[in-house]
């Protein structure tokens, strides 16, 4: 089957100062295929996509579109060629309605003088219909990250494109939305549209894609038909070595203890969740599952007093604690890793070292409150290394890191205070397979050392593989708990959406 590729990348290189993000990369995309790209964090995937979309210009190399050499000077040019792009980092206008955001590309190229709000509304509705019930009139600033991710996808779908790039679109989505997205992708591909799909989730790649290309350290490694290989082949090509176990061993029966670290009783916040009670035991990793908007993040943030007015009781090691501000929570040893990395997880224009020190600057300061640069640097190097952080040097601004590496910085920040209880909201969002396994192993080690670990994740395999016990949340209430062999995707999905099942049968 010899087809002319719709898009061909020929020996493209790109560097950021001393960092060579892409080295003479080749890549081609056939009409109507779903082409996955895999690679570790910082392998250069997003950089290549940014070049294809005209956001960045290559230092060297050429791009062919439908066989002709093209120069993509800006996203506007890319749009005209028919390239649509769902960005890894959400890029929406917060002060503007969902509908206008979705139709922004059309507005940009529109020849008509006046806005046709009715048409915009219709088109936004059409694009959103399958994905979600988000109101087109809502302002983007009022949406949660996962909802914004859906809007970003809807936005790309309205473009009349030939090539659709999806850079980790499912990182913040739950299984349900992800499946809808895959359905849409399939249909687009059937209509002859080519899709580039970037993900760190092997299952998704193998279930939905036709071919997969692997990048490592800015170099193109190989392209294979998915049918011809196995996930571990891809991982081996990505990492350069074989990763045997994706998840660490679970808590052994003899390790199980009844000692409770964190006790939550009747936690309620008027609009968002009601009567949430659970125990977090020593040595276990507790998961929390639920659909988008079920209120999982709110519970964690409520406990840490990051937002909302929460009532209920919190006991740490048996003693009731009084937390008024997140600072108190940190002082008690309870920390929270945010799901919105860019919005509230990292300080983009500050150095990596300062980012990691942010939770407790006092730790890297003398007793007089003078920050000791070398201690700050040592801490960053130590934590960075333990998480496999990949960066030029730790005085670079965080904005110079790839998405996954920014996530590692955020995690390093949590770990810097030696917490007793950690709430992790989508902890491995955007993190590559190798690093993910590493993070899982670190979490398990921490649990063994007696740290209470509480994981919120939209990726069910991650919850099942990592956690000893999973709570399921539905519309602000705990609808059940699964452990041991009962921890299956079916059971969790069932508990997460009973209501809907009932509605459907009724």
């Amino acid at each position: 089957m010899e087809q002319t590729p719709i898009l061909k990348i020929d020996k493209v290189s790109k560097s950021f100062g001393p960092v060579q993000a892409l080295r003479s990369v080749d890549f081609d995309l056939l009409p109507g295929e779903i082409h996955a790209i895999a690679g570790e964090n910082g392998a250069g995937k997003s950089t290549l996509m940014n070049i294809i979309d005209g956001i960045l210009q290559p230092d060297e190399g050429r791009i062919f579109f439908r066989g002709e050499a093209v120069e993509i000077a800006s996203p506007a040019v890319a749009q005209r060629l028919g390239i649509g792009f769902v960005h890894q980092e959400i890029a929406l206008c917060p002060d503007v309605s969902v509908a206008e955001n979705i139709c922004m590309g059309a507005t940009a190229t529109s020849r008509s003088l006046l806005m046709d709000y009715k048409d915009i509304d219709t088109r936004a509705r059409a694009a959103l219909r399958e994905l979600s019930d988000i109101s087109p009139a809502a302002l983007v600033r009022d949406l949660s990250i996962s909802q914004q991710q859906l809007v970003e996808i809807a936005k790309a779908l309205t473009l009349d494109c030939q090539v659709l790039i999806l850079d980790e679109p499912t990182a913040a989505l739950t299984e349900k939305e992800a499946q809808i997205l895959f359905g849409i992708m399939r249909r687009l591909a059937d209509r002859g549209i080519s899709i580039i799909y970037i993900s760190h989730r092997m299952v998704e790649i193998f279930e939905n894609c036709d071919r997969v290309s692997v990048f490592r350290d800015g170099q193109y490694i190989t392209t294979r038909d998915v049918a011809d290989i196995t996930p571990s082949d891809v991982v081996a090509a990505m990492v350069g070595r074989v990763i045997d176990t994706l998840y660490p061993d679970k808590q052994a029966a003899h390790e199980r203890s009844d000692e409770v670290i964190l006790e939550i009783r009747d936690l309620t916040e008027a609009a968002r969740f009601r009567n949430v009670s659970f125990d977090l035991r020593r040595g276990e990793i507790l998961g929390l599952a639920g659909l988008i908007g079920a209120g999982r993040s709110e519970i964690a943030r409520g406990i840490c007093r990051l937002e909302g007015k929460v009532t209920g009781e919190v006991r740490l090691n048996g003693k009731p604690i009084d937390i008024r501000h997140y600072r108190d929570s940190i002082d008690q040893g309870i920390v929270y890793l945010s799901e919105d990395r860019k919005g509230d997880g990292v300080f983009l224009d500050m150095s990596i070292a300062s980012n990691i020190a942010a939770l407790a600057v006092e730790q890297v300061a003398t007793r007089l409150g003078i920050v000791d640069d070398s201690r700050e640097a040592d801490q960053a190097v130590r934590l960075g290394q333990s998480l496999g952080l990949k960066c030029g040097h730790i005085r670079q601004p965080a904005s110079a890191l790839s998405g996954g590496n920014q996530q590692k910085v955020a995690i390093a920040k949590m770990l810097s205070v030696g917490p007793k209880v950690i709430f992790l909201d989508e902890p491995t969002r955007g993190v590559d397979v190798g690093a993910k396994a590493e993070i899982h192993r670190i979490l398990r080690d921490l649990a063994r050392q007696g740290v209470g670990i509480f994981v919120i994740s939209s990726e069910l395999p991650e919850l099942i593989g990592l956690c000893d016990r999973v709570l399921v949340l539905r519309e602000g209430e705990i609808s059940g708990e699964v452990t041991g062999d009962a921890m299956t995707e079916e059971n969790i999905m069932y508990l997460a959406s009973i209501e809907q099942e009932r509605e459907q049968t009724a």
Partner: protein, 336 residues
């Protein structure tokens, strides 16, 4: 909440009074309108002269021309910029038109050239901001100083007496159509036109997108630099228009005109809900802000409050007004 409404109260439908009241209450500007109404009621009890036609007319005249500049500033703020040079550029517009007129050019041509020159100044600022990458604040500060210098250089620091301006031209600034002064007619046309454009045209919607998240807008294929260039240029062009009208109104060109105007103009836009971070704001709100500031000043003068107390009262009313507006707005958003 589920239907796609246009930004604020748009398409008027014959839906009954209840609906209209509800829509009014839902608007961003409701709080401000309420505050101004309260001020009007208080003032009409405090002074018998307040609610007279002549007083209303005088108050309107006092902010109408500056209101044109407020329009330009609001659009610029929405796009994420700011302009400190509005006062000097307005003065420069008077000076350029005045000098040309004194040199024998007919006043209409002189005005057109002057407005064009101001547009050019805006374009230069736009160039420095979008091409060189400097911040609006610092560029417009430099231009503020340069334009003031140009005013002084052109006039030797002396006001130009333009008493010989032909009556047809002075009509712009001093005449009336029926009972409505021409200045106010021009002001209303500018306000209505730009309010409409800002809400309904694709061009000006891009201003919102750019100001809200420049990157996202650029990723959507919007030429954000062009948008910013445009809003920067437009603001200066409107200063040119204002300057020419002032010239017709006062029959003179004052090189020192408009010192400190920038703070007033920005304050009006911000009181009216424009964000200094870009991405939000309305012409209607900004004009309400300008009205509020102007009514307060006029009222204090009407009541003959001691000069030494005026600033204190004015500042306090400003602070109270924005605080009250803030709470009303918060309530409104919670209710929505």
């Amino acid at each position: 909440m589920d239907k796609l409404a246009e930004p604020s109260a748009e398409t008027p439908k014959p839906a009954g009074i209840a609906e209209a009241v509800k829509r009014l209450l839902g608007m961003r500007e409701t709080g401000l309108i309420a505050i101004i109404l309260v001020l009007f009621v208080v003032m009409s009890f405090a002074s018998p002269y307040f609610l007279t036609w002549v007083n209303m007319r005088a108050m309107a005249m006092a902010f109408a021309v500056e209101g044109i500049v407020v329009v330009g500033m609001t659009i610029l703020l929405i796009s994420g910029g700011i302009d400190l040079s509005v006062g000097s550029v307005t003065a420069l517009a008077m000076v350029i038109a005045g000098l040309l007129f004194l040199a024998g050019v007919d006043p209409w041509t002189a005005s057109a050239v002057s407005i064009l020159a101001c547009t050019g100044i805006g374009a230069v600022m736009g160039f420095f901001v979008t091409r060189i990458g400097l911040h609006h604040f610092i560029v417009s500060l430099a231009v503020m100083v340069i334009a003031r210098g140009a005013c002084l250089l052109g006039t030797g620091g002396r006001p130009l007496g333009l008493y010989t301006l032909p009556p047809e031209f002075k009509f712009i600034g001093q005449g009336a159509i029926g009972v409505i002064p021409v200045v106010i007619v021009i002001f209303l046309v500018v306000v209505v036109a730009f309010d409409f454009m800002l809400r309904r045209t694709t061009l000006f919607r891009k201003v919102f997108y750019t100001g809200s998240n420049e990157k996202a807008a650029a990723y959507s294929g919007i030429r954000t630099k062009k948008v910013v260039f445009l809003t920067t240029t437009l603001c200066s062009a409107l200063c040119g228009v204002a300057g020419v009208i002032y010239m017709a109104r006062f029959g003179s060109a004052q090189p020192t005109f408009g010192i400190g105007m920038e703070l007033n103009v920005i304050a009006a836009a911000v009181i009216g809900g424009a964000s200094l971070k870009g991405g939000s704001g309305t012409i209607f709100g900004a004009i309400l802000g300008a009205i509020l500031l102007s009514v307060v000043s006029s009222s204090l003068a009407l009541l003959d409050v001691s000069v030494y107390w005026q600033d204190i009262i004015r500042g306090s009313i400003l602070l109270t007004a924005v605080t009250v507006d803030h709470f009303i707005n918060k309530k409104r958003q919670q209710a929505a």
